[in-house]
């Protein structure tokens, strides 16, 4: 992955489950219809309890209530990000909101798979608990080749784990593109 992703960070806590990423009541919108799908961007991360939304202070919405896109490009989480249901609407909603990467200390398996196979958002794992080191609104940069994340606001860098087996699928842009490339379809 040679990709550089740069933008503002949005920081949430541990165990952010899919109901918090996109509450079940919003799952009824079409994923294809351009008018309807925008609502996934509006309601992305809207289920996160207020005190955990936009750490360290909390109380910040990921997407402003009157907008469809978020100002934040990189989501910083703790352990077990994306636990809960298998809904692919979760990584999809983050993508529709304009986010490009999540950096967490660990993921729930299905979220990780969905993010990669759907080509929605890149799920990086960090060694350090970055909740301690990055604040919501900090300008950060991910270097996918060197596997590091820099907090440009504080000037500090932190290592990321290699994507491992799935890197080819991430590079291809999802399971269909990967399979097509390898003559499986």
């Amino acid at each position: 992955m040679s990709k550089i992703i740069k933008g503002k960070a949005f920081v949430v806590g541990n165990d952010i489950d899919t109901d918090q990423i996109i509450p079940a009541e919003h799952l009824v919108y079409s994923l294809d219809d351009p008018e309807e799908r925008r609502f996934y961007g509006r309601f992305a991360l809207s289920g996160v309890p207020e005190d955990k939304s936009g750490l360290p202070e909390g109380g910040l919405p990921f997407t402003d209530p009157d907008k469809f896109e978020s100002d934040y490009k990189i989501i910083i989480g703790g352990k077990n990000f994306g636990c809960g249901s298998s809904r692919e609407h979760a990584p999809f909603a983050l993508q529709v909101a304009g986010a490009e990467a999540v950096v967490a200390t660990g993921y729930a398996r299905i979220f990780f798979r969905n993010a990669v196979d759907g080509g929605f958002i890149i799920p990086y794992e960090s060694h350090d608990d970055l909740i301690e080191h990055i604040s919501t609104g900090d300008e950060v940069e991910i270097d996918g080749e060197l596997n590091i994340i820099k907090n440009l606001t504080t000037g500090k860098s932190y290592p990321l784990k290699k994507l491992g087996d799935v890197v080819d699928i991430v590079d291809a842009g999802g399971i269909f593109k990967y399979a097509a490339k390898h003559g499986m379809l």
Binding site: D19, C83, G84, S86, A108, I110, N114, G118, A179, M184
Partner: protein, 437 residues
């Protein structure tokens, strides 16, 4: 080289004699299951990638069970069922269970076994995280997203990373006031909601093997709440008997090799188990019922794929019989079959249905209902600051509808006893004497 049950199934499905935990393999899929929330986007992806006129890879292997948002006026939710109906008709799918028809079932994970789709030794993927329930039958079963499901629909294949297995052994007879739900809440409390991430969780020991299929399903159902990939119980005569009554399809059961390697083995003494709850807002926030005794409640809920099976209602009815509920109590059978069974299953001179109704409970239609909140008119949905005790499997913030509500997870015994008093209550206080010796 020795293998675990899970490794063996994945080796067989990938056409190999041996696989190691940690390897990525492409497997042939025996059954693909989807429902009304994830089915329409899966179908959308399938058509986008394989073409408007593409046919599914094997129509006998695709099962579509609408169950989530059924009894609602929400127009988007109803549109989802319309999409499934049209697709099933167009593809001529034999295993579609339409809403409003006699074939309508209710909650997919309970309907799957009822209809004979959970066969030992096979590979099942479903677009729902609780697909792992089917592991109770010695099947490899796990949840996937819509893209993966769309991929399977066209190709019949998917990549999986072979998981290591964590083994949980329950030694000795389970005490009469303890249910499978108490075992799994204890395990999740011990290992945490991510304690099983990427791994298989196997349940074993005579405490488990003496359970009927429904009890085993309660264990495997909540593997995902421990972060696990799949849950599994070695198949035995109880399994074969259940499956053979429901399908004529041949299957080849697989078992652990005696010297298979496990990630870890934990042993519990069944006699030391206590009735458990998971406190708000996480399934691993464990406490014994004794520790939270007398916590005031405003609602009780008995239902879902994990707590709305016939045996769950039998248990609850044993406790509630002859009492009135002290808080709003909702009873939601998982499937239409169970709903019928409630009316024909007797306990102490009364049907289960009458026991609940005479106790003052609200009786619902078979579906997921308030287990996952759902549209605002969903039966039993939490709308405000309720404190609910529930036989369901998740109590994350907002899961049952309101972010302000608090949900305690517990066994049907504990939920029923608590429904009577309006406080969290030890079921031993209400279980008939002969059951508590």
């Amino acid at each position: 080289m020795s293998m675990t049950l899970t490794e063996k199934i994945l080796a067989k499905a990938s056409g190999r004699t041996h696989v190691n935990a940690g390897e990525t393999v492409w497997v042939d899929v025996d059954v693909l299951m989807t429902h009304d929330v994830c089915g329409p986007p899966t179908i959308g992806i399938f058509k986008r990638e394989f073409g408007e006129d593409a046919r599914v890879w094997d129509k006998d292997k695709v099962v579509i069970i609408p169950d989530h948002y059924i009894f609602t006026n929400d127009k988007y939710a109803n549109r989802n069922v319309d999409i499934l109906r049209a697709f099933a008709a167009d593809q001529d799918l034999p295993h579609y269970y339409d809403v409003g028809s006699e074939r309508y079932k209710g909650v997919c994970h309970v309907a799957m076994p009822e209809e004979g789709f959970t066969r030992p030794g096979e590979v099942l993927f479903g677009t729902d995280s609780h697909t792992c329930t089917a592991g109770a039958f010695g099947q490899f079963a796990t949840g996937i997203g819509n893209t993966d499901a769309g991929f399977i629909m066209g190709t019949g294949k998917l990549w999986v990373k072979v998981p290591e297995t964590m083994k949980f052994i329950f030694e000795g007879e389970i005490p009469p006031h303890i249910m499978a739900k108490d075992l799994i809440l204890r395990i999740i409390g011990d290992i945490g909601v991510d304690g099983g991430t990427y791994r298989a969780m196997e349940f074993a020991g005579d405490g488990v093997m003496n359970m009927d299929m429904e009890g085993r399903m309660t264990l495997t159902n909540m593997v995902i709440e421990g972060g696990g990939k799949n849950g599994v119980v070695e198949p035995d005569e109880v399994t074969f008997d259940y499956v053979r009554k429901r399908t004529n399809k041949e299957f080849t059961p697989l078992y652990n090799d005696p010297d298979a390697k496990y990630h870890s083995v934990r042993t519990y003494k069944s006699s030391e188990l206590e009735p458990m709850v998971a406190k708000p807002h996480s399934p691993d926030n464990k406490a014994t019922v004794g520790e939270v005794k007398n916590t005031p409640l405003t609602r009780a809920y008995i239902g879902s794929c994990t707590g709305g099976k016939l045996s769950d209602f039998e248990a609850a009815a044993r406790v509630i019989k002859g009492h009135e509920v002290g808080v709003e109590t909702y009873v939601v059978p998982a499937t239409t079959k169970i709903r019928e069974d409630l009316k024909t299953t007797w306990y102490d001179g009364e049907t289960l249905w009458d026991i609940f109704q005479n106790a003052g409970a609200h009786m619902g239609e078979a579906s997921c209902a308030a287990c996952l909140g759902g549209p605002s008119d969903t039966f039993g949905r939490l709308q405000g600051e309720e404190v609910c005790i529930s036989t369901t499997n998740r109590n994350f913030p907002g899961r049952m509808g309101s972010k302000k509500a608090q949900v305690y997870l517990a066994s049907p015994y504990t939920v029923a006893a608590s429904a009577i008093t309006g406080n969290i209550t030890d079921p031993r206080e209400y279980l008939p004497v002969e059951e508590t010796v």
